[in-house]
């Protein structure tokens, strides 16, 4: 009898655990599961390209420094946002973003369409001391980006890991990742040609930090900032079509 009673108690504790998991998990599952089939309905963007190794390295530095805590990369479908920042963000634009950097707070402005808005020199000066360029800014200084050499020897591994989670990097891209990182930041060097060949003619190939001889973290970050919103024209062409 005692034994039976004890077992009943055990069962009720475990039943309780299952009830909590059941009641809570189903809600999230029902809501999230359909999103994994969203690619069927999402906008088409055949011109969408992947990040170059240099841009990906820059993106990782952007993450490392916690830039996403103050800058969003998601323009909402509101009139004032579209007028301030540009065409609203489409789902397809961040489909290669592992993880997404939509952000949740704008202590600084949204930068989803920052690419091409300012010169490389402006970005370099701004990152070294934001208050040299925008006197009222409260952004931290990032002087060490200019001092630190960029770590490039393992970029192939990074691209391979990205491929594992679904980004379509080719074998050639992975094999040439390190060379492409150098090439993109030294337009007159021997590796520059391969970058446009693998990532498209529209790819920015420049000495982003102003010093073609050195590959710094500044090169990577500026390369990344200059490609924001430029991986596809889908958002611009959609808003142009809507304008007509």
């Amino acid at each position: 009898m005692r034994e039976f009673f004890h077992r009943r108690l055990e069962r009720s504790a475990i039943g309780f655990v299952l009830a909590i998991i059941g009641v809570s998990a189903i809600g999230g599952f029902v809501e999230i599961a359909p999103l994994f089939t969203i690619n069927e309905t999402v906008e088409k963007a055949p011109d969408m390209r992947v990040y170059t190794p240099l841009e990906l390295a820059g993106r990782n530095i952007y993450i490392r420094e916690g830039c996403y805590a103050c800058h969003s990369q998601m323009i909402r479908t509101l009139r004032d946002e579209v007028e301030r920042y540009g065409p609203y963000s489409l789902a397809v634009e961040s489909k290669y973003d592992h993880p997404m950097l939509w952000g949740s707070k704008r202590t600084g402005p949204d930068i989803a369409r920052l690419g091409g808005k300012y010169s490389d020199a402006w970005h370099v000066a701004h990152l070294i001391n934001p208050r040299d360029v925008v006197p009222q800014s409260v952004m931290p200084k990032y002087g060490w980006l200019m001092r630190n050499e960029l770590k490039v020897d393992d970029l192939g591994l990074h691209l391979a890991a990205q491929r594992k989670v679904g980004v379509p990097y080719t074998d050639a891209m992975i094999a040439n990742a390190t060379a492409d990182a150098f090439g993109q930041a030294s337009p007159d060097g021997p590796y520059a040609g391969g970058v446009s060949e693998r990532y498209g003619e529209a790819t920015n190939v420049r000495a982003f930090d102003g010093e073609p001889g050195r590959l710094t973290e500044m090169d990577a970050v500026v390369a990344y900032l200059q490609v924001l919103g430029r991986l596809t024209d889908a958002a611009h062409s959609q808003s142009a079509a809507a304008g007509k």
Partner: protein, 552 residues
């Protein structure tokens, strides 16, 4: 502490510490060219520290069998101290990052001291360090009392508590070095995440093993909330942190999800971290310590059950309100908004239940700052859940999102609800744990109460003002139909509010320091009292008792 472990448990502790140290060595070697190596060294030191700690007391006599007729509270005591330590550290970083927005050059041009790296130290420090340790410490206490059963063994609670703190140390040190997944409130990298899963499984097993051995037929409702906290946080943590490391020698990993799926998963996690870490767990505290301190049973037990299932069910749907007007499909946004609004019902049921419990004991609330902490916590819980439901409405959210209003809302909940209920519970718990009549200084509790309340109100009002001004400036048009303000105009307008929020945060930090001092002095007071009675009571028996033990 070590002397209370049996010899077998001491051996187990050494074995586990040695295994941990080995993991540290492997990480240090595999990640020698990477920051992973630095973390390997930290893990190694932690493991060696564990071995050293146990070895220093290894040859002490076994604890007497008589221990089994008491509750096992040593991990709770250490958890309380750790929690207050993290509170001071986490809030200090909070004041620092707040000051950085008013005076951006307080970084000494050092990478580790820039805003983006300090901010997660603040958020993880207060949520996981302060809140998490307080939850673990109080859950062990509540679990044993409400089950009338001792913890199942004496090693696994230490594993959970210290293992969890290793996770917190890896998290905070990682951010300063630049290691982060960038997922808010889930920043630690893959190896720290795996370690937390191991710790969490043991935590769950302690809970279920104690519940199975309980002497009460019914599981008291506080345990329901603690259980929901443990279980759902496990599910959230595992799903949101799914990632592929660059290699086993790299700290860096890439999230399995991307774009819109990642955003939804992240805010499903993010919002339910609020729900099940910062709400369910602390409601567990509320449902035990508030009736206990007031000396009155909870107003309606039935209401507590109904609101429990309401919260457990509905929160999971609400995360998408973080993504209104984004590229997330609109039906998901609408679903999230609807559930967020309905959530007000169980939330207010809980807050009302707590306040109704105090009805008839208002004289105690007036005289006892500890109980007043809990009362104010319930009020702030009610206020911030109302605000949360309000802000989840799409039209409101279009104004509030991306602004300081969100920050203000979070802090109304974090300072007003989470921290207040924690401080109230700890002030009630500390004298019980160290077996003294009362806290060292009731006056200092009073001082802390007013510092905390003033700090919270200043902070929240500053952020309401700045958030709404910001939101309005961004969408204001002038007569010619163009935007009236540049972004930098709105930033300049924030300056006075950023200063006042720093002051509010500073008051709250000073309050936490006062609490830490008060608890520390209470422990010292308990020690000197215990030493006094021990000498007076049993100068001879002490030796005799030790000699008797092997025969027991």
């Amino acid at each position: 502490m070590i002397a209370t472990l049996t010899v077998e448990e001491r051996q187990r502790a050494i074995a586990v510490s040695a295994f941990l140290a080995l993991c540290g060595v492997i990480m240090a070697i595999a990640g020698r060219d990477d920051l992973l190596g630095t973390h390997g060294v930290i893990v190694l030191l932690f493991g060696l520290g564990g071995i050293g700690l146990v070895l220093s007391k290894y040859f002490e006599p076994e604890p007497p069998q008589e221990r089994l007729s008491h509750y096992y509270d040593d991990p709770t005591k250490v958890g309380i101290v750790l929690s207050l330590g993290w509170a001071v550290v986490g809030m200090f970083f909070g004041v620092w990052v707040a000051a950085l927005l008013a005076w951006p050059d307080l970084t000494f041009d050092a990478a580790w001291a820039s805003f983006g790296r300090l901010r997660p130290v603040h958020t993880s420090g207060v949520i996981f360090g302060f809140g998490g340790n307080a939850l673990i410490a109080t859950s062990f206490h509540v679990l044993q009392r409400t089950s009338r059963a001792r913890l199942p063994d004496q090693f696994s609670p230490w594993f959970v508590l210290l293992g969890y703190n290793l996770f917190c140390v890896l998290a905070a040190s990682g951010y300063l070095m630049g290691l982060t997944q960038s997922k808010e409130y889930a920043e630690p990298e893959w190896y720290a995440d795996i370690w937390l899963v191991v710790v969490w499984v043991v935590y769950f097993l302690i809970y279920i093993r104690t519940l199975q051995r309980r002497k009460e037929p019914h599981i008291y409702v506080a345990n329901w909330y603690y259980m929901a906290f443990i279980l759902v946080v496990a599910v959230l943590h595992i799903v949101n942190n799914l990632a592929v490391p660059v290699s086993f020698g790299h700290a860096k990993s890439y999230s399995l999800f991307s774009g819109v799926q990642d955003a939804m998963t992240q805010w499903w996690y993010g919002h339910n971290a609020v729900a099940f870490f910062l709400t369910a767990g602390f409601l567990g505290m509320l449902y035990y310590y508030l009736p206990k301190r007031a000396g009155r049973p909870i107003f309606s037990y039935r209401l507590s059950i109904i609101s429990f299932w309401g919260i457990t069910f509905m929160y999971m749907w609400a995360g998408s309100h973080h993504l209104h007007y984004t590229a997330l499909p609109q039906w998901v946004q609408t679903l999230g908004m609807t559930f967020s609004v309905v959530l007000l019902v169980p939330s207010w049921a809980s807050a009302g239940n707590a306040l109704a419990t105090l009805n008839g004991a208002w004289d105690k609330v007036r005289d006892d700052a500890t109980l007043r902490f809990m009362m104010v916590a319930a009020v702030f819980y009610g206020l911030s859940t109302f605000e949360g439901s309000f802000m989840a409405i799409r039209a409101v959210n279009s104004l509030s999102h991306y602004t300081d209003w969100t920050v203000g809302h979070v802090h109304a909940g974090a300072l007003g609800w989470v921290a207040m209920i924690t401080f109230g519970s700890l002030y009630a718990l500390v004298p019980w744990m160290w077996k003294v009549e009362r806290m060292y200084s009731p006056k200092l509790i009073e001082v802390h109460f007013w510092l905390a309340l003033a700090g919270t109100i200043i902070y929240v009002f500053a952020m309401w003002n700045s958030g709404i001004i910001q939101g309005l400036m961004w969408r204001t048009y002038n007569d010619s139909g163009t935007l009236a303000y540049s972004f930098i105009d709105s930033l300049v307008a924030m300056h006075p509010y950023y200063i006042s929020r720093t002051i509010g945060g500073l008051l709250f930090l000073i309050g936490a320091i006062v609490a830490a001092y008060n608890v520390w002095m209470t422990i010292r007071m308990a020690r000197s009292q215990a030493a006094g009675t021990a000498e007076a009571d049993r100068p001879v028996l002490h030796g005799a008792g030790a000699a008797l033990q092997p025969g027991e």
